[in-house]
C-alpha cells in the first residue's frame, strides 16, 4: 500500500579503497565489511505520503462499508426479548418477594410474570439472566476463588486458599466451593410456559447443558476424586457456602452436571467484565423446522425468587435471544464499521484533493537540497 523503493546495495561497492589497500594494513581491529555492520543492509524504504495512503483509505472505505451494512442487517434480524423481574415496582408480581426477602426463610418465594412475544423466534433461543449493578469484577471478588480446589485437588478441597477468605471456612469447616464468587451463586430458578390461546399452559423444555465453555466443564472444573458417583463422600469434611441452601453435590440430579461441574455453577464462576452483565441460563432448542421455537403469543415466566438484589439496588432480568454467526444483537459493531468506512472514504477524497493540489509541489525532485 505504500510507495516502495528497494535500494539494495551491493555490499562491496560502497567501501572505496577498503578492498584495495585493506589487505596491506590487515589488522586485528579492521572492521568487517558486512552490510549489517556498515548499516547498509538492503531495505525497503516506504514513505507515507498522500499519494501512497490514498489507495489504502479507499480500500478500507470500500471494504468496511459493506461489512458494516452486513453486520447491521444481521444484528437487526436477531430477535431479542428482555423482561425485568426485580420487582421494584409495586405493581410487579415479584414485588413481595423483592420486599420480603429474608436469608432464613425456608419457603421459596415464587412469582410469575406474564409477557408476550410479538414475533416468533425462529431458530434456537438462548435464555439469559441479567444482573445490573452487581460488581462481579470487584478485585476482592474476582480473586476470591481457588482454582485448584475447583479442579478437584483433594488437598485444596480441605485447605482452601486464603484468597477465599472470608468465605473459606464456616465454623472451622472448610467450605466447598470456597470464595465469594461461589458463595454468591445465582440461585433463582426460572421456568417458561407458553400460554395457549385457550389459557392452558405448556411448559417449554429448557436445556441445561451446553451453557458453559466446553473446556471449563471438562478440564478446568473437576469434582474431587474424579467424577465418581459418590459425590457425597467426595465432599466429606466440607460444608456448603453460607448463602447456599444445599450442598454442592445436590445441585443437580444428573451426575454429569453435579458438584463442581454443574454448568450453572461454572457459568457463574466466569466473572463478568462489567457490572451490568448477562449469563446464559438455558437453551431452548428448535425442535422442528416447521414450527418456530417460540411462536408469537403469550408466555409466563415462573421465577423462584431466591436471589436478593435489593440491598445494592440491583436489577434482575430475563432475556430471550436468538443468535447469528456474529453472536447476539449488537448494532454497535455494524454502525462502527459503516462510520469508519465512510470516514476513511471521506478522508480519501480529502487527501486526493490535497494530493492533487500539493502533491506535485512537495514531491518534485528539484526541491531537494
Amino acid at each position: 500500500m505504500m510507495a516502495s523503493s528497494y535500494s539494495a546495495k551491493e555490499e562491496d561497492g560502497h567501501h572505496p579503497g577498503a578492498s584495495g589497500a585493506g589487505g596491506a594494513a590487515a589488522n586485528g581491529r579492521k572492521p568487517d565489511n558486512t552490510a549489517f555492520k556498515q548499516q547498509r543492509l538492503p531495505a525497503w524504504q516506504p514513505i507515507l505520503t498522500a499519494g501512497t495512503v490514498l489507495p489504502a483509505f479507499f480500500a478500507i472505505g470500500l471494504i468496511f462499508i459493506p461489512i458494516g451494512i452486513g453486520l447491521y442487517v444481521t444484528s437487526n434480524n436477531i430477535k431479542e426479548f428482555e423482561i425485568d423481574y426485580t420487582g421494584t415496582d409495586t405493581s410487579s408480581p415479584c414485588f413481595s418477594c423483592y420486599q420480603n426477602f429474608s436469608w432464613n426463610s425456608t419457603l421459596p418465594c415464587k412469582c410469575s410474570l406474564p409477557f408476550s412475544l410479538d414475533q416468533p423466534f425462529e431458530s434456537n433461543v438462548f435464555m439469559y439472566y441479567g444482573l445490573s449493578n452487581f460488581y462481579q469484577n470487584h478485585r476482592r471478588y474476582v480473586k476470591s476463588r481457588d482454582d485448584s480446589h475447583l479442579n478437584g485437588n483433594l488437598y485444596s478441597l480441605t485447605h482452601p486458599s486464603k484468597e477465599c477468605e472470608p468465605y473459606a471456612h464456616r465454623d472451622n469447616v472448610p467450605v466447598a466451593p470456597c470464595g465469594a464468587i461461589a458463595n454468591s451463586m445465582f440461585n433463582d430458578t426460572m421456568e417458561l410456559f407458553f400460554v395457549h390461546p385457550n389459557e392452558t399452559r405448556s411448559q417449554i423444555p429448557l436445556k441445561r447443558k451446553g451453557i458453559a465453555w466446553w473446556t471449563d466443564k471438562h478440564v478446568k472444573f473437576r469434582n474431587p476424586g474424579g467424577n465418581g458417583d459418590n459425590l457425597t463422600a467426595a465432599f466429606q469434611g466440607t460444608t456448603y457456602p453460607v448463602n447456599w441452601h444445599k450442598p454442592v453435590y445436590e445441585l443437580d440430579a444428573d451426575p454429569e452436571n453435579n458438584g463442581f461441574i454443574n454448568e450453572d455453577f461454572i457459568v457463574w464462576m466466569r466473572t463478568a467484565a462489567l457490572p451490568t452483565f448477562r449469563k446464559l441460563y438455558r437453551i431452548i432448542e428448535k425442535k422442528s423446522s416447521m414450527t418456530p421455537t417460540l411462536p408469537s403469543g403469550n408466555y409466563t415466566l415462573e421465577v423462584t425468587y431466591n436471589y436478593p438484589v435489593h440491598s445494592f439496588d440491583g436489577r434482575k432480568r430475563m432475556i430471550l435471544s436468538t443468535i447469528s454467526w456474529m453472536g447476539g444483537k449488537n448494532p454497535f459493531l455494524g454502525i462502527a464499521y459503516i462510520t469508519v468506512g465512510s470516514v476513511c472514504f471521506f478522508l480519501g477524497v480529502v487527501l486526493l484533493l490535497i494530493h492533487h493540489k500539493y502533491g506535485n509541489r512537495s514531491s518534485s525532485p528539484d526541491i531537494a537540497s
Binding site: 567501501h15 555492520k37 489507495p55 453486520l71 462481579q136 467484565a273 462489567l274 436478593p308 531537494a368
Partner: protein, 1164 residues
C-alpha cells in the same frame, strides 16, 4: 646559619597549618639534612599512582548500587517493588521486581566492565618501569612506587613519570630539551635548565652524594608557574640556596628529546602532578535526551500520582454507601474491617500506584541502555572511520552520548594535531617578485629560478642573482634551529649528497625547520653551528662560514627575529625575518610592491608567510649595536622594555629581500569537514595553546575564517592600547551594528554582501574577561563577550592553558541557551575540555592516547568527525527520540484502559489484563521491535545525510523531543487507549459474542483490549519505520506472532504450580468468535487512523526539509527502478517480478494510475 634554621623552625611551628599547606619540603634521595641544619620533618605525599577508575573491587557493589539508586527512575522502581512486597496489591511483586533486577544487573555489569577497562589502563601506566637512583645504583621500579624525593633517571624519548626538578643532564651546559606536546599541544622543543650547582653530577654515584632539600609550593594546576628553592648542603657549610622556577621543572607527560639522559628529583607525584591537577574528575555526562526523558518522567509521575489520587478519592466517595463497599456477596475479612480508614485509604492509594506504575516504563531504561550499548557498535564497526595508517577505527568509551552527537551546536577543536598534521612544509619563496618553488621530488637536485614558475616579473634585475643568494643565505642563518646529528659528520655529508636528511633539524618553531629544510632543497644547506660559526653548504658544495654575533630573539610583540653575522670576508650583516606587518614598515628599499602582492596572495591561500630583509652594518655600526644590546641586557630594571627599545632601534632601515610561504599541512579534508559543520549550523571554535599568527593562518587554511570574514581581535596587544572595557564595547558595537544593518538590508533586499565575523582572543585577555571584578562588572564583561561570540561564525582562542580551554567550554555551556558543546582534541592538554564538554572526542594522535582515553569517543582523524556527527549523530538522535516518545506512548496506551476500567469495577484496583500480560507487555511483546527500530532506522540515506549537512539543522535543539511533540504523542496514546477501552466496552456491553450463546468474562474483555493494544502499538511503529530490513520484518511480525503463540500456550494448558487458571482457553475462545476478530480489526484501524492522517497532511502541507528530501529521493529511486535498467543492478531479486509490466503508466496522472501502479509494484 643557626639563626636562619631557628627562624625556619619557629616560623614552621608557629605559623602552623598555613605554612604546611603553602609549601612542602622535599629531601632529595630521602636523605636527612646534616644534623642541626634543619629539623627533619618527613611529610607524607601520595604515591605516584594515577587513578582514573571509579570503583575498587570491594566498594563496587555498594557504591554502584548507591549510584544506580540515586537515579530517580531506579529509586522509583525500587519503591514500587517494596510497596508490592509489603502490601496487598493487584499485581505480584515479580512484575516489577524482575525487570528492576534485570536493569540493575545489566547496568552494573556494563559499568563494571567499563571500570575494569579503566583499571587496566591505569595499571599499564602505573606499572610501567622507571629508573630510580638508590645508593648509587640504578634500580628499576614500577611507576606507581615512585615517591617524592626519589632521584629519577630519564632517557631520551622517555616520558617523565611525575613532576621533576632537573638536577643534571648529559649535555654539558646542563640543559635538556623537552617536548610538551601531550601537555599543551606545542610540539616544539623547549629548553629546561638544570640547577647550576648540581649540573656537574653526571653519574649515578655523583648524584647519590648530593645532599639537598627542596622547598616548593604545594602543587597547583598552572603549568607555567612554579616557585621553589633548593638548599644544597656542601660539607656542612651553610646551605647554598638557589631559586627554582618553571624552567627547572619537568612536567609529567612531557617527553625528553635530544638529550641522552637526565637526573631529576621527584617533587609532585601521582594525582598531585600538574598534569593530573589539570584533569577534571570524570563526571557522569548526561545527554540532552536523557534530560528530556527525566522531564517527561516527572510529568508522567505527576499523571500517575494524580490518577492514583483521583481513583482513591472516587473510591471512597463511591463506597460511602455500605452496600457498595461491602455488599452481601462480597464481604471483607475481619482484619480488613478493623483496619483504620486512613491506613486503608493510604494502602488503596499505593495499590493504585502499583496498578498504574507501568505508565513509567522500567523497560524503557533497559531498552535505552541496550540501544546505546549495542548502537555504539555501529560506530566502532564503521569502515569509513577506519584509518588504514593507524590500523584503527573509531572507539566508543561512553555509549551514553550517542544521540548527543546529533545535537551539537558548538564544536571546540584543538589545532595542533587535530586540525593540522603539525607538519610544516616549505611551499615557495619569492625573491624580488620571482617565485621559487622547490620541486617536491627534488632528489637532491637544485631547482633554480629558471626552472620554477615566475608569476610576476620575469625580467631579473641586475642584482637579481646576488639578491637571490643573499636571500637563501639569510634564511639559512636567521633562525634558532639546532642540528641533531644522528650519524657521524661523514654520514651527514654522504647523506646530503644523496639528498636524504640523516641529520635532523630541531627548533622551537616548526616553521623554522620547514624553512631551513626548504632552503636545503633549494641548494643551501645549513650544516651546524660550531664554535659560534654557522656553516652553510652552498649550491656549489662549498662550505661557507659565518660567525654568529648576536641573536635578537623572536617575540610575539615584535613578531620578528634577527641575527647579526660576520661573513668570512669580514662583512657584518643583519638578517631579519618576520611577519609582513612587522617587516614592511621598516623597509627602505627593495621591491616592496611585488613582494607584498605575493605575500597577500599566499596569505589568502592559507599559507604562513614571513618576510626576509637585511642590512649591512659597518664595523662602527656593529659596535654601536653591540653596546646597545649589552647595556640593555645588563639593565636590572625594566630589562624587557629596554631590550625592546634596543631591538627597535637596531631593526630598521632594512632592504627587503623577499618572502617565504610555509604550509602547516592541514589534516586530510579538514577544511571540508569544517565547512560541513558550518553548514550543519554548528559554530566552530579553535582553542589552541599555539601563538596567534600560526593559529590564525591555520584557521584561514581550514576555511574557518574565509576571505570575507571580518576578524575581530581581542588580544593582549589590543588591550594594552585600550582598556578591556572599551575594546569589548567597541567590538560588540561593531557586531551589533552589523547585525542591525543586516536585517535592514535583508528587508530591503540588498543583502548580497554577507559579512561574517571571526573573533580572535588570547588566553590572557580571556582570563581578564572572565575574572570576576571587584566592582561587580565582571559578569557584565562575560555577557558582552558571549554576545560577541554569538554573532561570530568562528572564534579562535589562542595561547590557552588546558584549564582555560575547559573554562571556555564551561562558559558556553552555561550561557543562557545552554547549547550542546563538543570538544575534540588529541593531546593531554585537551583532556580537560574533552571532559568538560557535553561530548568529548579524542583523536588517536601522535601525541599519546591521553585524549583518546579520556574522551567519550575516539576517532583516528579529524575528518571522521563529519560522519560521526552528520550521520551517526543524526541517526542516533532520530532513533532515540522515537524510542523515548514511543515508549511513553505505548505505556499510556497500556495503562490508560486500566484507569478507565476502575470506573467500572468499583475502583477496586482490579487489573484489566492478566499478570502475564502485565509483565510481558514491555519485556517481550513490544520491546524488540522498538529496540531494533532504534538500532536500524534510517529515515534518510546515509549518503544524502553526508551530502547535505543542512539536514542536521532539522534536528537541532532537541527538536524531536520538544513539549508539543511529547504532548502529541501522549494525546495519541490517550486517544488510542480510549478507543481500545470504549470500543471493547460498547462491543462487549450486554451482548453475546459467540455463535453458541455462551458468554465471555472479564479476562476475555481484558485480552481483547490487550490484543488490540499489542497490534496497534506494533503497527504504529511499523508505520514509523522508514527502513525495513529483513531484521525489522522479522522482529515486527515475529513479535506479533510471538504474542499469539504465547497467548495460545498460556491459555492452552492448566498450569501446575499456579494458583489461578483464569486465562485458561480465554484467548482461544476469543479467537473463535467472529465479532472479536471484526472488533480487533476495527479498533486497530481506528487507533491508527488519526496518526496516519496527521502524518500525511503534515507532509503534504508543511513538509520539513527532511521530508522533502525523502520524497524526492523516493521519487528518484522509483524513477530509476521504473524507467532504467539500473534497477536491475540494484535489486536483482525484484527483477523477476517486473516483466509482466510492459507499459508502466506515467506517475501522478491520476490516482487510479498511482493506485494501479502501486498495487502492481507491491504484488508479489
Amino acid at each position: 646559619m643557626d639563626f636562619s634554621a631557628l627562624r625556619n623552625l619557629i616560623s614552621r611551628y608557629c605559623a602552623g597549618e598555613e605554612n604546611w599547606v603553602d609549601s612542602r619540603t622535599v629531601y632529595i634521595g630521602h636523605k636527612e639534612p646534616p644534623p642541626g641544619a634543619e629539623a627533619y620533618i618527613p611529610q607524607r605525599f601520595p604515591d605516584n599512582r594515577i587513578v582514573s577508575s571509579k570503583y575498587t573491587f570491594w566498594n563496587f557493589v555498594p557504591k554502584n548500587l548507591f549510584e544506580q539508586f540515586r537515579r530517580i527512575a531506579n529509586f522509583y522502581f525500587l519503591i514500587i517493588f517494596l510497596v508490592q512486597l509489603i502490601i496487598d496489591t493487584p499485581t505480584s511483586p515479580i512484575t516489577s521486581g524482575l525487570p528492576l533486577f534485570f536493569v540493575i544487573t545489566v547496568t552494573a555489569i556494563k559499568q563494571g566492565y567499563e571500570d575494569w577497562l579503566r583499571h587496566k589502563a591505569d595499571n599499564s601506566i602505573n606499572q610501567c618501569p622507571v629508573h630510580i637512583i638508590q645508593h648509587g645504583k640504578v634500580v628499576r621500579k614500577q611507576s606507581r612506587k615512585l615517591r617524592v624525593g626519589d632521584v629519577v633517571r630519564v632517557k631520551e624519548d622517555e616520558t617523565f613519570p611525575c613532576d621533576l626538578i632537573l638536577l643534571s643532564s648529559s649535555r654539558d651546559d646542563g640543559t635538556c630539551f623537552v617536548t610538551t606536546a601531550s601537555l599543551d599541544g606545542e610540539s616544539s622543543h623547549k629548553t629546561y635548565y638544570a640547577v647550576q650547582d648540581t649540573k656537574a653530577f653526571n653519574t649515578e654515584e655523583e648524584v647519590d652524594t648530593l645532599h639537598a632539600t627542596i622547598e616548593c609550593e604545594q602543587p597547583q594546576p598552572d603549568l607555567y608557574k612554579f616557585v621553589g628553592r633548593i638548599n644544597i648542603y656542601l660539607d656542612r657549610d651553610e646551605p647554598i640556596a638557589r631559586p627554582l622556577g618553571s624552567e627547572n621543572l619537568l612536567l609529567r607527560g612531557a617527553t625528553l628529546k635530544n638529550t641522552e639522559c637526565i637526573y631529576a628529583v621527584a617533587i609532585y607525584t601521582g594525582m598531585e602532578t600538574k598534569m593530573a591537577l589539570n584533569y577534571q574528575s570524570k563526571s557522569q555526562k548526561r545527554s540532552a535526551v536523557e534530560k528530556s526523558m527525566n522531564a517527561y518522567l516527572i510529568v508522567y509521575l505527576c499523571i500517575l500520582i494524580s490518577k492514583a489520587l483521583i481513583n482513591t478519592v472516587l473510591k471512597y466517595v463511591w463506597q460511602a454507601d455500605p452496600n457498595r463497599d461491602e455488599p452481601w456477596y462480597n464481604e471483607k475479612t475481619e482484619t480488613e474491617r478493623q483496619r483504620h480508614i486512613l491506613i486503608r485509604a493510604f494502602t488503596d492509594f499505593l495499590a493504585f500506584m502499583v496498578l498504574f506504575n507501568y505508565i513509567i516504563p522500567v523497560s524503557m531504561y533497559v531498552t535505552v541502555e541496550m540501544q546505546k550499548f549495542l548502537g555504539s557498535y555501529f560506530i566502532t564497526w564503521d569502515d569509513e572511520m577506519f584509518d588504514e595508517e593507524l590500523g584503527e577505527g573509531a572507539l566508543v568509551n561512553t555509549s551514553d552520548l550517542n544521540e548527543e552527537l546529533g545535537q551539537v551546536e558548538y564544536v571546540f577543536t584543538d589545532k595542533t594535531g587535530t586540525l593540522t598534521e603539525n607538519n610544516m612544509e616549505f611551499i615557495e619563496c619569492c625573491v624580488d617578485g620571482h617565485v621559487y618553488v622547490p620541486h617536491a621530488i627534488c632528489n637532491g637536485q637544485i631547482m633554480p629560478g629558471a626552472a620554477s614558475m615566475d608569476m610576476i616579473d620575469s625580467s631579473p634585475g641586475p642584482g637579481g642573482r646576488e639578491h637571490e643568494e643573499l636571500f637563501f643565505r639569510a634564511l639559512c642563518l636567521c633562525h634558532t634551529v639546532q642540528v641533531k646529528e644522528e650519524e657521524t659528520v661523514d654520514g651527514i655529508k654522504r647523506g646530503i649528497h644523496q639528498g636524504k636528511a640523516t641529520s635532523v633539524y630541531i627548533s622551537s618553531s616548526p616553521d623554522e625547520v620547514a624553512l631551513v629544510e626548504g632552503m636545503k632543497r633549494l641548494g643551501f644547506t645549513y650544516l651546524r653551528l660550531k664554535d659560534s660559526h654557522m656553516e652553510i653548504q652552498n649550491r656549489d658544495d662549498e662550505i661557507e662560514r659565518f660567525e654568529l654575533l648576536e641573536v635578537l630573539n623572536f617575540d610575539s610583540v615584535r613578531r620578528r627575529m634577527s641575527v647579526i653575522v660576520k661573513s668570512s670576508t669580514g662583512e657584518y650583516y643583519l638578517f631579519c625575518k618576520g611577519a609582513d606587518s612587522a617587516v614592511f614598515p621598516r623597509v627602505i628599499s627593495g621591491k616592496v610592491e611585488q613582494v607584498r602582492a605575493r605575500v597577500e596572495h599566499n596569505a589568502v591561500e592559507g599559507l604562513r608567510t614571513l618576510c626576509v630583509a637585511y642590512k649591512k652594518l659597518s664595523p662602527a655600526e656593529y659596535e654601536e649595536v653591540c653596546h646597545q644590546l649589552s647595556s640593555a641586557k645588563l639593565a636590572l630594571q625594566d630589562r624587557e622594555k629596554k631590550l625592546a627599545e634596543a631591538y627597535d632601534s637596531i631593526e630598521r632601515d632594512f632592504i627587503l629581500l623577499g618572502a617565504t610561504a610555509v604550509e602547516d599541512r592541514l589534516q586530510d579534508k579538514a577544511a571540508d569537514t569544517i565547512e560541513s559543520l558550518h553548514k550543519a549550523g554548528m559554530k566552530v571554535w579553535v582553542l589552541t595553546g599555539d601563538k596567534m599568527e600560526t593559529a590564525a593562518a591555520t584557521c584561514y587554511a581550514s576555511k574557518l575564517f574565509r576571505r570575507n570574514t571580518q576578524i575581530l581581535e581581542l588580544t593582549t596587544k589590543r588591550t594594552e592600547e585600550q582598556n578591556l572595557h572599551d575594546v569589548l564595547f567597541d567590538l560588540s558595537r561593531t557586531v551589533l551594528r552589523q547585525h542591525g544593518s543586516m536585517t535592514r538590508e535583508t528587508l530591503s533586499g540588498l543583502s548580497n554582501e554577507y559579512h561574517d565575523y571571526g573573533l580572535i582572543i588570547d588566553g590572557a585577555t580571556l582570563s581578564a574577561v572572565l575574572k570576576p571584578s571587584q566592582e561587580g562588572s565582571g559578569g557584565n564583561y562575560k555577557e558582552i563577550f558571549l554576545e560577541i561570540c554569538r554573532n561570530c561564525s568562528a572564534v579562535l582562542c589562542c595561547r590557552m592553558a588546558p584549564l582555560q580551554k575547559a573554562q571556555i567550554v564551561k562558559l558556553i555551556k552555561a550561557s543562557k541557551e545552554h547549547p550542546i558543546t563538543l570538544a575534540i582534541g588529541d593531546g593531554a592538554n585537551d583532556v580537560s575540555m574533552i571532559l568538560e564538554a557535553h561530548v568529548g572526542i579524542g583523536i588517536m594522535g601522535k601525541e599519546g592516547r591521553q585524549a583518546a582515553r579520556n574522551s567519550d569517543y575516539a576517532i583516528p582523524k579529524f575528518k571522521h568527525l563529519k560522519k560521526m556527527l552528520l550521520v551517526h549523530g543524526h541517526y542516533y538522535y532520530i532513533r532515540i527520540s522515537e524510542l523515548v516518545q514511543y515508549f511513553f506512548y505505548k505505556n499510556v496506551c497500556f495503562i490508560f484502559p486500566q484507569f478507565l476500567y476502575q470506573f467500572f469495577c468499583g475502583f477496586s484496583q482490579q487489573p484489566l489484563y492478566d499478570t502475564a500480560y502485565l509483565t510481558l507487555y514491555n519485556i517481550s511483546f513490544t520491546s524488540l521491535p522498538i529496540l531494533l527500530y532504534s538500532l536500524m532506522e534510517q529515515h534518510i540515506n546515509m549518503d544524502i545525510l553526508k551530502r547535505d549537512p543542512s539536514l542536521y539543522r532539522d534536528i537541532a535543539k532537541n527538536s524531536l523531543l520538544r513539549w508539543p511533540i511529547f504532548i502529541y504523542w501522549t494525546f495519541l496514546g490517550v486517544f488510542d487507549a480510549v478507543v481500545f477501552f470504549f470500543g471493547a466496552f460498547f462491543l462487549f456491553d450486554n451482548t453475546t459474542f459467540t455463535s453458541n450463546g455462551q458468554m465471555f468474562g472479564n479476562w476475555t474483555f481484558g485480552t481483547l483490549v490487550f490484543t488490540v493494544l499489542v497490534f496497534t502499538v506494533t503497527l504504529k511503529l511499523a508505520l514509523d519505520t522508514h527502513y525495513w530490513t529483513w531484521i525489522n520484518h522479522f522482529v515486527i511480525w515475529g513479535s506479533l506472532l510471538f504474542y499469539i503463540i504465547f497467548s495460545l500456550l498460556w491459555g492452552g494448558i492448566i498450569w501446575p504450580f499456579l494458583n489461578y487458571q483464569r486465562m485458561y482457553y480465554v484467548f482461544m475462545q476469543m479467537l473463535s468468535s467472529g465479532p472479536a476478530w471484526l472488533s480487533i480489526i476495527l479498533l486497530v484501524v481506528v487507533s491508527l487512523l488519526p496518526d496516519v492522517v496527521k502524518k500525511v497532511l503534515c507532509r503534504a502541507l508543511w513538509p520539513t526539509t527532511t521530508e522533502r528530501i525523502q520524497d524526492s529521493d523516493n521519487l528518484y529511486q522509483s524513477h530509476l527502478s521504473e524507467f532504467t535498467s539500473l534497477s536491475t543492478l540494484h535489486a536483482p531479486h525484484r527483477q523477476q517480478k517486473r516483466p509482466d509490466r510492459q507499459n508502466p503508466a506515467p506517475r501522478r496522472t491520476n490516482w487510479c494510475c498511482i493506485c494501479a501502479n502501486l498495487l502492481l509494484r507491491n504484488t508479489p
